[in-house]
């Protein structure tokens, strides 16, 4: 049996930087082949080459044993290779149906776009993906992240994909959505589709993949059957060293109350939330996408000022009507969307690190660049950020290093309360561990940490207590000792009404 897709001895360089060196990869029909590696290992480039987006410098691509060259994505798509991109390449202003069929709309006899058929077929595809509630006429800009991803998968399927490449499909999904996605993947596999599955999440790999290939520094470290490897061996293959503890949770005695939230509401989004947070504590927030986790964080942080309720920091009531108020109150927020909200990517590292404390760095309105430079150098050292120097543009750094810059930026404000929204999303194992270690260190120093995560193991592993949200309300607060996937999962799910206001869309 010949593989449907085969990459042989692929090399690729961008300018002087060698990204891939002699990589081999093959995929059989009806299998899920996981591709793993830290950020910067070359996974994305490989995907781009396989999907015709980039041309390899060396090596060849074979389809069903025949060598092929793709002039562009269109040719690859014509051969049945489709990609579900991590950044979800959709058209926000267009409808669901149209997003599914853009570029290959069904046509009438006269060559015109057949809207009726397009909507019908989109409906069928979405039903096949088990999402009957998704309206094919809805604009994509109004959909939640999970729904957007379904649209993207429907798009791939609409091209009768034989090879489906999924680039971190679960990075943005809540646990329940991950379940549904894995179900869909199983079904596709049964239909004979070959799936390249890129993910950082170990449990998914073990659950769904048949084989796994690990990349490191642009080279293939090896391909093995999933049954033959362990989590530990995979991690050491990826990182090149052993990592013993995935969640280095340290026990810190609870300090005094730092943050008290009572009756906090944002009309139509979150309702009547009360909790407190202590120095040295990590309070995890769990919940489905759309349950109001991020909205809660952004309300506390003043992005969307609360319509009712009270926030006290160190016992003093604070009126938080803007981000500036929140910063002044000692609250810091590391946002979910790094690229959009966390960083100004075209600007240098040092200007990003100083951005939240610009007021404090100015004298007579002039920015003290000397102090700024020192601040940046310290941050590079303290968080071991891999950057050329403080003048490098943050957009050029890897995801993990970007996240460290965001952390550095917020720790520079000397906060009392640190809110982390999906702090390790899209970050490789190495950087993830570092960030977890850092969280422990910060908590030990008396910081109160609020952590939102869609990864249940992370929430369970890192939190002292877990605040579970459902449909904009507080569902439960679970102590570490009582927290199990079942107890927290139950609090998250319960019965869910028909889709509430699409909370995921902003």
């Amino acid at each position: 049996m010949t593989p449907i897709l085969e990459l042989k001895n692929i090399s690729k360089a961008f300018g002087p930087v060698k990204v891939l060196t002699g990589v081999d990869f093959d995929l059989y029909a009806g299998e899920v082949h996981a591709l793993m590696g830290e950020n910067g290992a070359g996974k994305s480039t490989m995907i781009r080459i396989a999907s015709g987006d980039h041309r390899a410098d060396e090596g060849e691509i074979r389809l069903d044993g025949e060598p092929r060259r793709f002039a562009g994505p269109r040719e690859a798509q014509a051969e049945g290779i489709a990609v579900v991109h991590q950044e979800l390449l959709l058209f926000p202003a267009l409808s669901v149906a149209e997003n599914v069929f853009l570029g290959h709309q069904p046509k009438t006899a006269g060559g015109f776009v057949d809207w009726a058929r397009m909507r019908r077929e989109a409906r069928e595809l979405l039903d096949r993906l088990d999402c009957p509630n998704l309206d094919v006429d809805q604009r994509v800009s109004k959909l939640s992240v999970a729904d957007r991803q379904r649209v993207e998968i429907a798009r791939a399927l609409s091209r009768n994909a034989r090879v489906l490449i999924m680039d971190e499909p679960t990075a943005a999904l809540a646990e329940a959505d991950v379940r549904r996605l894995l179900e869909v993947i199983r079904r596709l596999r049964a239909d004979g589709v070959g799936i390249v599955y890129v993910s950082h999440r170990m449990n998914e790999i073990f659950e769904i993949a048949d084989r796994v290939t690990v990349l490191r520094d642009g080279r293939s470290i090896g391909t093995s059957k999933v049954a033959d490897v362990t989590e530990g061996s995979l991690v050491s293959m990826m990182v090149g060293r052993d990592i013993h503890q995935l969640f280095p949770k340290v026990d810190i005695p609870r300090g005094e109350t730092r943050l008290e939230v009572s009756g906090l509401s944002l009309a139509g989004v979150i309702e009547d939330i009360s909790f407190d947070l202590h120095a040295g504590e990590i309070l995890g927030i769990a919940g489905l996408v759309g349950s109001g986790r991020t909205e809660l964080a952004q309300t506390i942080f003043g992005v969307t000022p609360a319509t009712a309720g009270e926030i006290r920091v160190d016992g003093a009531p604070r009126r938080i009507a803007s981000v500036r108020d929140a910063i002044a109150a000692g609250i810091a927020y590391v946002p979910e969307d790094r690229g959009l909200h966390g960083l100004v990517r075209p600007q240098p590292l040092r200007e990003n690190v100083s951005m939240a404390i610009l007021d404090r760095l100015t004298r007579y309105a002039v920015v003290d660049t000397g102090r700024e430079q020192r601040l940046a150098s310290e941050a590079i050292e303290r968080f071991s950020i891999r950057a050329r120097d403080a003048r490098q543009r943050v957009g050029q750094l890897s995801g993990g290093n970007q996240q460290k810059v965001v952390l550095a930026k917020w720790l520079a404000t000397d906060p009392k309360v640190l809110i982390l929204d999906e702090p390790t999303r899209g970050i490789d194992i190495g950087a993830k561990t570092e960030i977890h270690r850092l969280m422990g260190e910060l908590a030990r120093k008396g910081l109160a940490i609020l952590m939102i995560s869609s990864e249940l193991p992370e929430v369970l592993g890192m939190s002292d207590r877990i605040l579970v949200m459902r449909e904009g309300r507080l569902s439960a607060i679970v102590d570490r000792k009582d927290a199990t996937p079942d107890s927290v999962g139950a609090a998250m799910m319960q019965t869910r009404r028909e889709p509430a206001a699409a909370g995921g869309a902003r």
Binding site: I327, Y333, H341, V344, R345, E351, L358, T362, V367, R391
Partner: protein
Amino acid sequence: MTRILIRHEAILGILFAVALFVMAAQSDRFLTTANLLNQARLMTEVGLIAIPMTFVIVTGGIDLSVGSILGLCAILVGVFWQNAGLPLPAAIGLSLLAGTAAGFANGLIITRFRVPPLIATLATLALYRGLAEGISQARSVRGYPEWFAVLGRGEFLGIPTQLWLFALVALAGIFLLRFTAFGRTTYAIGNSEAAAEFSGLPVERTKLLIYTASGFVSALAAIVFVSRVSTTRSDMGNGIELEVITAVVLGGTSIFGGRGMVIGTLIGLCLMQILQNGLSLSGVRGDGTTVVIGAVLIVAVLISNILGRFSND
């Protein structure tokens, strides 16, 4: 970031030097102090407005209403002075206030009502010009006292008076954009407004201030203009916005925001002015000069694009 900017400026500098050299070779009347100072005088109004426009474009916005604000403020000087019988300094003060208010209104429409700047200022372009016409009833106001002409036609230490004003505004612009938290915020807004917002930077206030400043400086340009031509007309400054934007963009400010420097704008301005002047002196007619400036604009952007592609950005 700085490196790219410097590169664009270097290209511009070279273009500028080439233009200077060619023009000087074409006409011996070109490279004289008198001519150059005179040219500087002629470009002051466009130059003044180009300074805040650099800020506006760096934030990723645009202000098309500057020419109309200029017209409106010019009219108001005359109306306050002659029709309302105020002393001239008071009339000037009120007119500056009106220009500031017009800019503030732009800023409000853009920040509060979230109207994209292009549309907002397209609408106020029509509105402010209309107000100028309505208020003036198409009457010119003339006969300003001698002392007022000093600003537009006089000299101070051998240098045209308005050039001192221009230098002051330009220096303030360089200082603000380059060294202050305000400038830093301006760049951050242009590169990623959301990230700036999430960093607690005063995004709305900064934008509001920038559009307000644009209105104020347009009013200032109106005063200089009225002083230079000693009359007010409601059609003053018509079309000046395109000249200003051309200068700013020629100066390397990215129309998408986030990139640009006041120095670049100044070079862009000078390049435009010496092209106009130099070509005219060497016998090229006005319409030919217009064509050349259009071509230079494309060439400058092309060269910097091509060079930009070979660098690792």
